[in-house]
Amino acid sequence: MSLFPTVGRKQASVRISWWLVVAFLVLGIFLHLVPFYIMISTSIKPASEAMAMPPTLWPKEPTFVAWKLVFNLSDIAKSVLPQPLSRYFLNSVIMTFGTMLLSIPVTSMAAYAVSKLLKGRTANNLFVFFIGTLMLPGIVSLIPSFLLTRNFPFPLPVAPNIPGTATPFPTLRIWNTYWAVILPAGFSAGNFLLFKGYFDSIPDSIINAARVDGGSEFNIFRRIILPMSVPVYAVVAYFTFGGTWDSYLWPLVVIQDSSIAPLTLAIRRITDAFGAAGTTNPLTAIGASAGITDLVNQGLSWNGLMVLGLLQALPTFIFFIITREYLLKGVKIQGLK
């Protein structure tokens, strides 16, 4: 309430402009909520009504047929979706929680060390080492990273031979496993910045006092710093969850088997089959058309896609509800004058 004058708030001009601001904000919130409304209302329409012109605001006869059918999608049309939906869901859960369990401790401990334990030039150099990749477009490392998942530690299509022999070096292959998604995300430069900003705001005196009391560095971190830093952990957990749950290009490159594919790739398959947006790849459309006809006959069209979208969005939504109190408290941006 600082932009409007503190005196003369009752003046007509001030009141009108204040209400204009309110109207602008309410409009924005309204627009933000529209997708939720349309997705929910479409998901309980029958297949034909979901494709009716003009679109109906609310289904004439609400039905949960799409919700039931989506869960059995793989039984009805195996060519559209080779695995049951629960399989993709479970794969996404494994990848997301695996990434969180690995990345959050690794990143936060490094940020704590750079912020509080290491001093001087070592801390500076490590800081640059850790956040330098933020300034590099991630795309440049996409293909070598993909090759690394196939022939670790060689980012090459084929591992080189041991000099003087015809046998190639032994390599580790994590491609086409859950690890291919989890391990490369083990450290996150963006989250490192969030953690470091937060740890920097904790006074050194607290840590020094604990040292005098004889606490080991690990115990200080676990017993004193962790409880103080719940907000930043909540924020990073929320970002990591949202990011991994929605990750798309990387799984597309490193996951081949549908049995370990995440939900995002299942959605790609289905939109491919539905030939949405009128820009279909003709070959896939013909291949899947039989399956699609079956689906539409059973009552599944865009209502089913909306169910799919809602199911995909739900976990992020729940995670937001859990962490919402911390979102503002956990972000401490440094360098503000």
């Binding site: 600082s2 003009p54 690794v106 401990m109 330098g132 090459l156 009128g278 503000l336």
Partner: protein, 304 residues
């Protein structure tokens, strides 16, 4: 003697604490070691190798041979490459120009609400619709036969039926529109604005500053470092766009919405690893040039 011991004892205590800290210096490295390994192997190492890999034939089987700039020469004669760069630049720059500033403005206005209203508004506003789910929603709205937008165009505005995502000419615009409509306040901007002391605004008011004047001379300058960083990441991010256009159009019609990263993915799928990496390096160079220009033109903090 007694006095002496009394003086000495605290000293030794301090010394043991100091010794303890230096002796346990290696513990600090346990904190950072896993992160160093991950950041090296999945951060720096593949990024640097990319440049080397783009200069080889990178065959799927057989021997790797050094080919100089052959991959780049081949890409330069591929008409799809300039097309993809054109799409990427239009898409990236237009989406930054059209969508970057709305969240800043919205955050500034949101701060004007009474605390309780603001809380409710923020929770409603930050309710996340995941990016993947929203592509399904937008595809539905853009459908040529029964989408809401077609209904608005034909029945409300009385226009002839629109092609929307299958229009080569306008597809990029339709891909950017969701970003303009779905504006919201940026979380980082709100955090930055909350850190501004109220007294600044009060002092400005005594000096006779009005609504816009306060935004221009207090809010925006104080947000400047955050705006600068966000802009930098927007430039880097929007030129690497893949997910949204891929799910919406698969790059169609006729490549009119195929970004560089989408073309890279096509090349990779066709086993052209060397070409794909070379294309990544070209995009990398373009982004770096744009970032450099931005940093030369705009200073993070003009007072420093």
């Amino acid at each position: 003697m007694t006095v002496g011991t009394e003086v000495i004892e605290p000293k030794t205590e301090v010394q043991t604490v100091e010794e303890g800290r230096t002796r346990k210096g290696w513990i600090n490295w346990i904190f950072v070691a896993p992160a160093i390994l991950f950041q090296f192997f999945w951060g720096w190492y593949p990024s640097i190798v990319a440049i080397f890999l783009s200069l080889t034939n990178a065959p799927i089987r057989g021997a790797l041979t050094f080919r100089g700039i052959e991959n780049y020469v081949r890409l330069a004669s591929d008409p799809l490459v300039p097309m993809a760069f054109r799409v990427t630049l239009i898409y990236g720059i237009a989406s930054i120009v059209l969508t970057f500033f709305i969240p800043i403005f919205t955050a500034i206005l949101l701060m004007e609400m009474p605390p309780k209203t603001m809380r409710v508004m923020m929770i409603l506003w930050f309710l996340p619709l995941s990016g993947i789910a929203s592509t399904l929603f937008w595809q539905y709205l853009y459908n040529e036969n029964f989408g809401l937008f077609q209904f608005i165009a034909t029945s409300v505005l009385g226009l002839p039926p629109q092609a929307f995502l299958s229009s080569e000419r306008w597809v990029l615009l339709w891909l950017i529109v969701p970003g303009i409509i779905m504006y919201g306040p940026g979380l980082y901007y709100i955090t930055g604005l909350q850190a501004i002391p109220k007294s600044y605004f009060e002092a400005a008011e005594v000096e006779g500053a009005g609504f816009w004047r306060k935004i221009w001379t207090i809010s925006l300058p104080r947000l400047r470092p955050i705006i600068f960083m966000s802009m930098l990441f927007s430039i880097i991010g929007s030129l690497q766009e893949f997910t949204f256009p891929d799910l919406m159009t698969r790059g169609g019609p006729n490549g009119a919405s195929r970004t560089v990263v989408m073309y890279m993915f096509n090349l990779l799928n066709n086993g052209r690893i060397g070409d794909s990496t070379a294309l990544a390096v070209m995009l990398f160079a373009l982004i770096m040039i744009l970032v450099l220009i931005f940093r030369l033109l705009v200073k993070s903090d003009p007072d420093v």
